[in-house]
């Protein structure tokens, strides 16, 4: 049939465009389609026209409703022809036109005739076409034939019926489910693909019946599945069964594991890989189970076929996230893949190596990665950057080479997401690795010199404002920041002004010079920039012009906004312009979740620039400021630690109270944050009566009442206790909220003159040993451990009895001692039998404490623990043991 095409385009043949469809046009082809109506059908010509129509459709051309209907009716005429080629093309055309229900009726009888024809090719194709366009009423008519077709001895016909069954199951599941017996028979077929299609359909019919699927798998895994594709399916179903049964039979041999393992020796690579992948994805897979799978994947790594290498490395990459040790055997093979022609494979190899690598291989890896970064796509680069970030946190000593790497790639071309990933990584490293701070900040400064993304610039400027003034030489950052004021758009300029002001406020020596710069900003073309500059100049400038002390001003300008933004927004919306100025103190501070508690949680959740920089410290700073502003507490000395707030009331009660425990060397202060949730009440003279009878070593020294507590505006009352200096005294305190309640007229907001005394029982609170421990991490535990005098080491063993799991026990012990887990050792790998956790902290009296605690669990879930403590003071080491023994 090629002949006529070529002839037609003969004159164009010499030209560049030699397509037989050159210059094809929909209208003309539709005209040509009239040949379908000829009484004397020219089969070959008709085929050509259909090919042209299909070509048009394939190129994305669409037919209007009218055109499609016209073509469809014309095509149906072609069933008269006996030409097989033409018939096949007609089938294709009907499928591509996807006719509507009323049109389908016209071809149904022709297709049903073909379904029962003697030519197998007709039968198979007619089944597929008919099932594609059919609806449920028609389906019941042809159901009988389909059932027959499923068990037909011609594999092509059987496959056609089975595959159609899979499609029909989505829409007509009731009918297809009735074919179960025939499908079951087809599973035993000798034809490879029939078996595959039958298995797929059978499983889908039974997928909601766990027991049936389990039986199916049990019978088939004994052998008799021949086709590799069917074998792959069976592996998937097997792992599904394993997954569902694993909940009740945790101990002992995993069912069907033998089958999966035997598939690793299958002659088809497809099956071997499917089995290996299934094994690695088993929940709670043990290293013994993993080994054979890893071994075959390792062989694939050196295959000549890119697809095999890719499949293997991708699977290993996933395994490395959970079982890095299992993959280390493949490290050499993976290193050779870094230079793989296929960049996807190379990227996966790199990131896998980063997950499995050890400290000594880091430098070499970084060198290899640098060469390779320039020629991969952004999405791969982000993956690499993230892998490097976690590696750096794992090996903090290597920060220098990784920081350099990050800054180098920051200078190269890249999209926003990529740049953001790098900047986020640098920020996290600065935060977690103190040594890396100065170079990190310097790299960020360099970056904003030539940064096209406003968002990143402003975020970095904000971060600089917080971190820069605390460095050894803050002045060197000023140039970078002021350059922004000169060169950037208004948004960046405004945030640069704020950053400058922060430097001015925090570094006295820079103040005069900063003021010169800020004054220049007064002539900026943008309102916001000018406003900010004016504000800062007036508040910071002349001594306490706006009121309050220097501290107040700084707190006002840069302190964390202690009202939730949502609440502020609502209050501002409700504010009606009047003579009374808007008072931010009237904005409710309570949100559903405690903002302080949120920030305080030192989780890795709030990472990146979006999170408040150095969250934990600012909160502590805020507490410190708050306490030092209360003169009564000034004699207590330096605040050692503030615990996170603890609720003393049930949620949604009349009065919400939480307590923050502030630990000083010789004192403890309870800060009760109270909120009145009743609009009709005004509370006055709010105090908490604390009964310390169960805390013998504590004696109350003073109470600071809260004068008034209006509706929905939190206030604080304090109670201070004296305790033996430097001693981690513990005790239990019961609390009673006492106050004078006054009725408030909701209409006028005025309170009655007379009040009634009332009290409200709060929950008890405890001072525990962990309260005297400050969570402070060390970057290199091993070094720190070895630098500590071994004579101060105390080791003891504890039997902890039966525990649910190791992970739970580890986190319980961490909670008891209240120390910071180091090097990610708080995470217990799934199913491991033993674990060592490294903890560090500072005990009251500024004593550094390091703890190495090893856990072991046996078959009967008995947990044993070995606790080794080193600290600067042997008595403290003893004390830690006491704490643990009591806890």
């Amino acid at each position: 049939m090629a002949q006529p095409f070529v002839k037609k385009d003969d004159d164009l043949d010499e030209e560049e465009e030699y397509s037989p469809f050159y210059g094809i046009e929909k209208g003309a082809v539709l005209q040509e389609a009239r040949v379908f109506h000829d009484p004397q059908l020219d089969a070959r010509r008709c085929s050509q026209v259909i090919t042209k129509l299909l070509y048009l459709l394939n190129q994305g051309e669409t037919f209007t409703k009218v055109e499609a209907t016209e073509v469809f009716f014309a095509v149906t005429k072609l069933f008269q022809s006996k030409d097989t080629v033409l018939r096949r093309m007609v089938y294709l055309m009907i499928k591509d036109l996807s006719p509507s229900a009323d049109e389908v009726i016209i071809v149904t009888s022709s297709l049903m005739k073909d379904m029962n024809s003697k030519t197998d090719m007709y039968r198979a194709n007619a089944i597929r076409v008919l099932c594609r366009i059919t609806d449920s009423t028609l389906l019941t008519q042809i159901e009988r034939y389909l059932k027959q077709a499923i068990v037909d001895k011609n594999p092509v016909v059987a496959s056609a019926a089975l595959v159609s069954g899979v499609h029909l199951l989505q829409t007509n599941s009731e009918i297809v489910k009735r074919w179960s017996n025939e499908v079951q028979e087809a599973v035993q077929s000798r034809a490879a693909l029939v078996q595959f299609h039958a298995l797929a359909l059978l499983h889908q019919i039974r997928q909601n019946d766990r027991l049936a699927v389990s039986k199916l798998v049990t019978s088939l895994t004994k052998g008799s599945v021949r086709s590799p594709l069917a074998q792959c399916l069976l592996i998937r179903y097997t792992s599904q069964v394993i997954r569902e049964s694993s909940t009740n039979t945790q101990a002992g041999e995993r069912p069907f594991f033998d089958y999966l393992e035997s598939c690793l020796r299958h002659k088809s690579e497809m099956v071997v890989f499917e089995a290996a992948r299934a094994i690695t994805e088993l929940s709670g897979v043990t290293s013994r189970e993993l080994t054979p799978a890893i071994t075959v994947l390792q062989l694939f790594l050196s295959s000549s076929k890119p697809v095999l290498r890719f499949a293997a490395i991708r699977t290993l990459n996933k395994v490395a996230s959970t079982h890095p040790l299992a993959v280390t055997n493949c490290n050499i093979d993976m290193e050779s893949l870094i230079s793989d022609q296929n960049r996807s494979i190379a990227t996966l190899a790199i990131t896998t190596l980063l997950k499995t690598g050890n400290e000594s291989s880091v430098d070499r890896l970084m060198k290899q990665i640098t060469n390779f970064m320039s020629d991969i796509a952004d999405e791969f680069k982000i993956v690499v950057v993230e892998a490097i970030r976690s590696l750096c946190l794992k090996f903090p000593l290597k920060y220098r080479s990784m920081m350099n790497f990050l800054s180098n790639i920051l200078r190269e071309e890249g999209g926003f997401d990529y740049k953001k990933a790098i900047v986020d990584s640098i920020v996290i490293l600065i935060r977690d690795i103190p040594d890396a701070k100065e170079i990190g900040l310097f790299h960020l400064c360099e970056f904003i010199e030539d940064c096209e993304f406003t968002y990143l610039s402003t975020q970095i400027l904000h971060f600089l404002g917080n971190e820069g003034p605390k460095t050894s030489d803050p002045s060197k950052y000023i140039r970078y920041i002021y350059n922004r004021v000169i060169l950037e758009n208004a948004t960046v300029r405004a945030s640069a002004v704020s950053t400058l002001a922060k430097f001015g406020a925090m570094v006295d020596s820079l103040k005069p010079r900063i003021f010169v710069l800020l004054r220049r900003c007064l002539f900026d073309s943008d309102d916001e920039v000018r406003d900010r500059a004016t504000l800062y100049l007036n508040t910071l400038g002349t001594d306490a012009s706006v009121g309050g002390t220097d501290e107040d001003v700084k707190d006002f300008l840069f302190g964390p906004l202690d009202v939730p933004l949502v609440n502020l927004e609502t209050s501002l919306r409700n504010y009606e312009a009047s003579d009374i100025p808007f008072d931010i103190n009237l904005v409710p501070k309570e949100v559903k979740s405690q903002p302080l508690a949120e920030k305080k949680a030192p989780g890795k959740k709030a990472i990146g620039l979006g999170a408040p920089p150095s969250g934990p410290t600012t909160v502590v700073d805020a507490y410190e400021k708050l306490l030092s502003s209360i003169s009564e507490f000034s004699s207590f000395g330096k605040l050692f630690k503030s615990c996170s707030p603890m609720e003393l009331t049930e949620p949604e009660t009349e009065y919400a109270v939480n307590v923050v425990k502030h630990i000083f060397d010789g004192h403890v202060v309870f800060q009760y944050n109270c909120t009145n949730t009743i609009p009709e009440q005004l509370l006055e003279k709010v105090t908490v009566f604390v009964d310390a009878s169960e805390a013998e070593e504590f004696s109350e020294v003073l109470t600071k009442p809260l004068r008034s507590l209006p509706y929905d505006s939190p206030g604080q009352t304090f109670v201070a206790f004296e305790k033996p200096e430097g001693v981690p005294a513990i005790g239990k305190f019961s609390n009673l909220l006492k106050f004078v309640v006054k009725e408030v007229d909701p209409a006028t907001g005025e309170a009655d003159e007379e009040g009634v005394e009332d009290e409200y029982q709060l929950e008890d609170l405890e001072i525990v040993a962990a309260d005297y421990m400050l969570k402070v991490g060390v970057s290199n535990f091993k070094n720190a451990w070895e630098n500590m005098d071994p004579d101060n080491e105390r080791i003891d063993e504890y039997g902890l009895g039966v525990k649910e799991s190791l992970a739970e026990t580890v986190s319980a012990v961490i909670d008891i001692v209240g120390m910071q887990p180091c090097e990610g050792t708080e995470v217990v790998p799934n199913n491991s039998r033993s674990h060592t956790c490294l903890l560090s902290g500072i005990f009251i009296g500024n004593v550094k404490v390091l703890v190495r605690v090893s856990f072991g669990i046996d078959g009967s879930k008995q947990v044993a623990m070995k606790l080794a403590v080193r600290s600067e003071d042997p008595e403290i080491s003893e004390k830690i043991h006491e704490i643990v023994a009591e806890g």
Binding site: F5, R87, V163, L233, L308
Partner: protein, 177 residues
């Protein structure tokens, strides 16, 4: 994962990324524009790779794409993120070899377009609605060729037995490798 391996699309593009024949089996790319954008993206991203001797593989936009080039034709098969890469590769190889058999090893854009009917039938015999129908190139080719037997069309000089002989030869060669 628990369901049947599925193919998202099979694409045959020319050396400029234009369509020769394409077939989509899912709604992942609902509009023509989305389809064309996807084709352009995989075409440009794979253009510089050497996928002429062995099928290559890439991960793009969360899909696995296995591809192979010959002359001015680019063959692509796309599967889902968690699909067994080797199954996708087997489908590609089936398509690729079947086209080779049908075009009698004269595989280029021109002969593909001149025999577009065979290519379209070939696609139809490999995957049905995303489900793999057949992966053995010689079987696919014989199914397509069986149709054109009486038609005395472009395969006229080559009977089905010849086609099968070529297929066997192919097989023997691949075994000897």
């Amino acid at each position: 994962m628990d369901c049947c391996p599925s193919i998202k699309n099979v694409l045959l593009l020319d050396s400029e990324g234009k369509r020769v024949a394409v077939k989509y089996y899912t709604d992942d790319w609902p509009t023509l524009a989305a389809k064309l954008a996807y084709e352009k993206s995989i075409f440009t991203k794979t253009l510089k790779t050497n996928a002429r001797t062995e099928a290559e593989i890439a991960m793009l936009d969360g899909y696995i794409v296995v591809y192979k080039f010959i002359q001015d034709l680019h063959f692509f098969v796309t599967g889902g993120d968690d699909e067994n890469e080797l199954i996708i590769a087997t489908v590609l190889q089936g398509f690729f070899d079947a086209v080779g058999l049908l075009l009698r090893n004269n595989v280029d854009k021109r002969s593909a377009l001149e025999n577009l009917d065979l290519i379209l039938l070939c696609l139809d015999e490999i995957v049905d609605g995303g489900i793999v129908l057949e992966t053995e190139a010689s079987v696919i080719a014989s199914k397509v060729a069986a149709n054109s037997l009486d038609g005395a069309t472009s395969l006229s000089e080559q009977t089905i037995s010849q086609a099968l002989a070529t297929a066997r030869e192919h097989l023997a060669r691949s075994l000897l490798k």
